[in-house]
Subunit: 211 residues, 2 copies
DNA sequence: GTCTATAATAGGATAGAC
DNA sequence: GTCTATCCTATTATAGAC
C-alpha cells in the first residue's frame, strides 16, 4: 500500500533544515535520509536527479517562504517601522536565534554559489527591492532607500555570522534593536504608506511557520 | 633526497585558498592535493591528524594574518579614518573582490563552527576589539564605539555575501564607500589618537600579501 | 619529504521486490 | 511509495619504497 509517510511540505521542511545545518556538501544522503525518516531510495523517488535537485527545491521553497513571510509583508500597507520590526522578528525565528542559517547565504559563501546562481541572485535582489519599497514608503528618496536596503540585508547576515560565532543571539538582537531607527533616520512624516494601495491585500505580519 | 617542494608558508597559503573556496566539507583531500601540488601521503606528513588539523592551521594562520594586516593597523597611531579605509582596502584584496570568502566566516555559517569554536570566537572578538579601539581613538564614547565596531564587521560580511551572490564586488565597494563616514559620524575632533602611545611600533597599513 | 599503491569507509545513485 | 540490497565512485587515511 503505497502511502506517503510525509507530505511534500513536511519533506521539504526536513530537507531544508538538513541543508541549512550542514551546507550543500555536508548534507550527505545518509544524513538527509535520517533527518527525513525515509530511505535513500525513497528520496530518489521524489528527486530523481538526486541531491542537487533537493537543494534546488529547498532554495526555491526558501524564496517562496520569504515571499509570503518577509518580502510581501515589507510591501504591505502597515507603517514602515512596523514592517521592519516584523521582518526582524520573523528572521529571528527563522534563524532560530542563530541555530540555523539560510541556504542561499550559506551557498553564496562558497563555490556552491555556482550551482543555482540565478536563484541566489533573485533571492537577495527581491529582498533589497521589497525593503526598498518599505523605505521609500517612509518618505526616503529612492536612492537613499535602496542604499539602506542593502545596508540592512548586510547587517542581518553579518549579525547572523557573529551570533553563530559567539554562540549567542545577542549580536543579532542588538542589531535588531538598532536597525529600525537607523533605516528610518531622516524619513519624512510622509503619509504615503497610509494612502498607497497595498500590493498584497492582506499580507500576514506573522509567519505561519518558520522553516 | 628529501627536499620540501613548498615552504610551510606556501603550503598553508594553498590550503587556505582551497578551504576558502570549497568550505571545510567541500575541500576534499584530492582537491587539496591538486591545489598544493603534493600527494595525499605528503600532506599527512605535515598534518598527521588529517583534514581537521589542516583546517585548524588555516584558521590559526588567518588570525595571525589579520593580526598583522588588519587588527594591528586598526590600533596604530594613524588617523582613525585612514585606519578604517586601510582596513577596507586590505579586505577587498583579501577577498579578491568577492572571489574568496574567509574560512572563519564560512565555518561559522554551518555546523562546522563546532570544530574550533574558540578560534572563531577569538577571531571575531579580536576584530571588534581592534576596531573599537580605532573608534574610541576618534573620540567616540566607548559604548558607541563598540556598537559601531560590531556594525562594521556585520556590514563587511553581509556585503561579502551579497557581492558573491551578485557575482560582482559592487556591493562591497558601495559599503566601503559608506562605512567610514557612518562609523565616524559624530566623532569629536579629539586628538587622542595623535598623542596615544601606539601599541604596535610601526604596524603596516598595507599588507605584505593577501592570503 | 615525497611518492605509488592500497586499504577501509562513506559517498551518491540504482534495481527490483513488495 | 517504501524498502533492502547493491553498485560504483570518491573519500579519508595508511604502508612502505625511495
Amino acid at each position: 500500500m503505497p502511502v506517503p509517510l510525509l507530505s511534500r511540505e513536511e519533506l521539504l521542511e526536513r530537507l531544508s533544515r538538513t541543508f541549512r545545518r550542514y551546507g550543500y556538501e555536508g548534507a550527505s544522503m545518509t544524513r538527509i535520509a535520517e533527518a527525513s525518516g525515509l530511505g535513500k531510495a525513497s528520496l530518489y523517488h521524489y528527486f530523481p536527479e538526486g541531491k542537487s535537485q533537493m537543494a534546488r527545491a529547498v532554495v526555491q521553497r526558501t524564496i517562496e517562504w520569504f515571499e509570503a513571510n518577509v518580502f510581501g509583508p515589507l510591501e504591505s500597507n502597515h507603517p514602515p517601522r512596523q514592517r521592519i520590526i516584523a521582518m526582524l522578528d520573523t528572521l529571528h525565528r527563522y534563524f532560530e536565534g542563530g541555530q540555523l542559517a539560510c541556504l542561499p547565504a550559506l551557498m553564496a559563501m562558497s563555490d556552491d554559489r555556482a550551482l543555482f546562481p540565478e536563484l541566489l541572485e533573485r533571492f537577495f535582489t527581491r529582498w533589497v527591492s521589497a525593503l526598498g519599497q518599505t523605505l521609500t514608503d517612509s518618505g526616503l528618496a529612492r536612492d537613499i532607500a535602496q542604499r539602506r536596503a542593502y545596508d540592512a540585508v548586510e547587517r542581518i547576515y553579518g549579525a547572523l555570522i557573529l551570533s553563530r560565532a559567539f554562540g549567542s543571539d545577542h549580536t543579532f538582537l542588538a542589531m535588531s534593536n538598532e536597525l529600525p531607527d537607523h533605516l528610518l533616520a531622516g524619513a519624512g512624516r510622509s503619509t504615503l504608506w497610509t494612502t498607497r494601495v497595498p500590493r498584497f491585500p492582506s499580507s500576514p505580519m506573522v509567519p505561519s511557520r518558520a522553516g
